[in-house]
């Protein structure tokens, strides 16, 4: 038991002791707030929504309080590793998925949840893939979302310009031309100043329509590489759309690009599901929705990149495991998934929810045809990651200083240092 709760109990005991025998009250009183579970998260933009979700939990579990602490994404992983090494971590930590999770498992900082969180069995594989320990196959976190990627578009601009959702790539380009002629930035896009991850997402939006849903397995088994013409074609297409990106693309960062879309200056935005909630909260008046990036042929079934965004895990050194496990069980429940969908508007890890938000229902529809987000799910297990090469060279590729073939070759060379295909 932690010092904190001993003190709390002692204080309660003193108060209670005036009226009755301390021991009796302490063991039987059911409604005391004797446990505070600390939870760390990097989603600062979701603070209010998360607070509301846990208010609902606290109402039903009067013995447990959840203290959510937020650290901006850029510093989060650093802060968490330092805290865990020093034995001063939270009870529950938000965890990145796939390769970024492994160091914490290998370091022995997390408890496996297979037995303690029964509801994990009701979660889809797309969600659980991100929380599995590579060495032992156990589950180390409760996933909260399976986001996917697509083209967000401003419905007001589209209807004012008489534009329909493009069915083919040709139509997409025609749409961009029309918007440009009307003086509207067709696609808000940019990844300057360290936000090139947004450009990687752009490739994740365009990619599946060119390399198809089977490409991920081919990559994993070593049948295909990044130098495959289908992947190079995805890079090329991303670069080819440069005339339609924000003016001064190479100098525009993610924040500026989102502001252009949210402010109605740009008609489209390549993004992941997580934008839904933040777009809405930043401009409640913005009317927008999402569509999958079109393929060359209108009859092609459109696939979208999907991944497990992250999870919440139990820190091994937590002094508060019983209460923390209760919180994690709540986060794995259908009730949490419903609250998550309602409050945040991005696809929850469980699919057994009733969706009210139209954009979210579009996204859930799209995610039925999904393929793993290649660079993240497959190639972020060790450094150098495919992402690190892509993110650093992609601005130069769009600007025409680096050939798409060269970028693809660099990505392949980098991951070849550690990636072993499964036969």
């Amino acid at each position: 038991m932690s010092m904190l709760s001993i003190h709390r109990r002692a204080a309660l005991g003193l108060i209670g002791g005036l009226a009755a025998a301390c021991a009796g009250i302490l063991t039987t009183a059911p409604a005391r707030a004797d446990s505070t579970v600390t939870l760390w998260s990097w989603r600062t933009e979701d603070e209010a929504a998360m607070r509301r979700i846990f208010d609902a939990f606290e109402k039903n579990n009067p013995g447990i309080k959840v203290d959510i602490q937020f650290t901006p994404d850029a510093d989060y992983q650093n802060r968490l590793s330092t805290a865990l090494r020093g034995g001063r971590g939270p009870d529950i930590a938000q965890l990145k998925a796939y390769g970024e999770l492994q160091p914490f498992i290998e370091g022995g900082y997390l408890d496996a949840l297979d037995d303690s969180v029964a509801e994990l069995k009701n979660m889809p594989d797309a969600a659980l893939g991100g929380v599995r320990g590579r060495a032992d196959g156990k589950l180390y976190g409760v996933p909260y979302s399976v986001p996917m990627m697509g083209v967000f578009y401003n419905e007001d601009i589209f209807s004012a310009q008489g534009i329909e959702i493009p069915k083919t790539y040709k139509e997409f380009v025609a749409t961009c031309d029309k918007l440009k002629a009307a003086g509207i930035t067709p696609i808000a896009n940019g990844g300057a100043n360290g936000s090139a991850w947004e450009l990687e997402i752009g490739v994740g939006v365009i990619g599946p329509t060119l390399y198809g849903p089977g490409f991920y397995d081919e990559m994993m088994s070593g049948k295909a590489t990044f130098e495959d013409p289908r992947y190079v074609a995805a890079l090329k297409r991303f670069a080819e759309l440069k005339p339609y990106y924000s003016d001064g693309f190479a100098g525009i960062d993610y924040t500026t690009a989102t502001q252009q879309f949210i402010g109605g200056k740009a008609a489209m935005f390549f993004g992941g599901s997580f934008e839904n909630g933040s777009f809405k909260s930043q401009n409640p008046k913005l009317k927008f929705s999402i569509f999958p990036f079109p393929a060359d042929d209108a009859s092609t079934k459109l696939y979208t990149s999907a991944f497990s965004d992250g999870s919440y895990g139990l820190v091994s050194e937590s002094q508060n495991k019983e209460a923390a496990t209760k919180v994690l069980n709540f986060m794995a429940s259908a009730e949490f998934a419903q609250l998550f969908a309602d409050e945040l508007g991005w696809p929850p890890a469980r699919s057994d929810v009733t969706v009210k938000d139209p954009v979210l229902s579009k996204m859930m529809e799209m995610s039925k045809n999904s393929t793993p987000y290649l660079t993240l799910v497959g190639f972020r297990w060790q450094t150098p990651t495919a992402s690190s090469v892509l993110q650093s060279e992609i601005i130069d590729m769009v600007e025409g200083n680096v050939a798409p073939e060269k970028l693809a070759a660099d990505m392949q060379a980098a991951v070849s240092t550690w990636f072993k295909p499964k036969q």
Binding site: S81, G99, E100, P103, Y109, G194, E200, R380, N401
Partner: protein, 310 residues
């Protein structure tokens, strides 16, 4: 004899007291400087998994630094640091000398201009980086001014261009610390006896001749100090890159420095990814420490020998 013995015992007590007084400082120094330094040196000989030190690896981390894929990053970052150093020597210390000389020649208003030059040094490099990022962004003031003057057309993307980004960052850094050389050179110039300049003037030396043949040799200690400081600062360059280009030194690692590379290895963030390689990071840290120590010693010796005594 007795008096002498008395003295030595007093001296001994004084000595003991001195040691006692030094101890706290020594303990702090040992704990916060020597201990981490030795620990990181020790750690660089081990393989790391995630966040924990695993088995002894000998020099494996050091050899790994120089081969693919780390080698490309190391040489790239090293080259950027070297370029940065020469850029600072030229833009900051060179122009600084010129400004100091002009202020020295025209004494009126010197104090005012000196504070103008020194003003940016009051600001944190983080603020300076953020400020210049805004100024140099597409649609920013720099673009507006350059387009207005007809020197440039369209949107300004110097920071997103791998050919110009590094030079821009070096210029911003030079701007930030310009006041320091101006301050130190002016102080140095004021210490030179006015008679020397008068004599030179009578001999018919012009301003340029006086600067290069008289002032500069006498300013050798100041130049030495500034060069050494610039060397240490540029090889530790991190904040401006971090604020203006992100920890990957984008685009295409064109602004990557040894310390941003170290940061990625030690704290992750390589491609916004939290996978660390602490063994490699510590090896790089040890290398950087050696380069800086040896470089600094050599520089101090170099300038010591060239100091002119009158």
């Amino acid at each position: 004899m007795t008096r002498l013995r008395h003295m030595t015992s007093l001296q001994r007590t004084q000595q003991r007291m001195a040691v006692l007084f030094i101890l706290p400082a020594l303990a702090v120094y040992g704990l916060f400087v020597l201990y981490p330094l030795l620990m990181s040196l020790w750690g660089s000989f081990f393989a790391w998994k995630g966040l924990r030190m695993q088995e002894f690896a000998g020099l494996a981390n050091f050899t790994r630094l120089f081969i693919f894929p780390s080698g490309a990053r190391l040489y790239g970052a090293l080259w950027h640091n070297v370029a940065w150093f020469f850029g600072i020597m030229l833009l900051q210390n060179g122009l600084g000398l010129l400004f100091a000389w002009l202020l020295f020649l025209r004494d009126r208003g010197a104090a005012f201009f000196q504070s103008v030059f020194f003003f940016p040094a009051v600001l944190s490099p983080v603020i300076v980086g953020a400020l210049w990022r805004l100024l140099l962004a597409p649609g920013g003031i720099a673009e507006w001014a350059l387009n207005g003057l007809g020197l440039h057309q369209g949107s300004l993307t110097v920071l997103g261009n791998s050919h110009t980004a590094l030079a821009m960052l070096i210029a911003v850094d030079a701007w930030n610390w310009m006041g320091l050389p101006v301050l130190i050179y002016t102080a140095g110039l004021r210490q030179i006896s006015g008679q020397i300049f008068e004599a030179a003037k009578l001999d018919g030396a012009g301003n340029a001749r006086m600067l290069f043949s008289i002032a500069l040799p006498l300013l050798m200690p100041a130049l030495g100090t500034l060069t050494t400081l610039s060397f240490i600062n540029t090889f530790n360059q991190f904040d401006i890159v971090y604020v203006m280009q992100g920890v990957q030194g984008n685009p295409s690692y064109s602004t990557d420095t040894l310390v941003t590379y170290f940061y990625r290895l030690a704290f992750g963030a390589e491609g916004a990814v939290g996978i660390t390689d602490i063994g490699l990071a510590l090896a790089l840290g040890t290398m950087l420490f050696l380069v800086l120590s040896i470089g600094t010693l050599l520089m101090l010796r170099f300038f010591d020998k060239r100091t002119v005594q009158l």
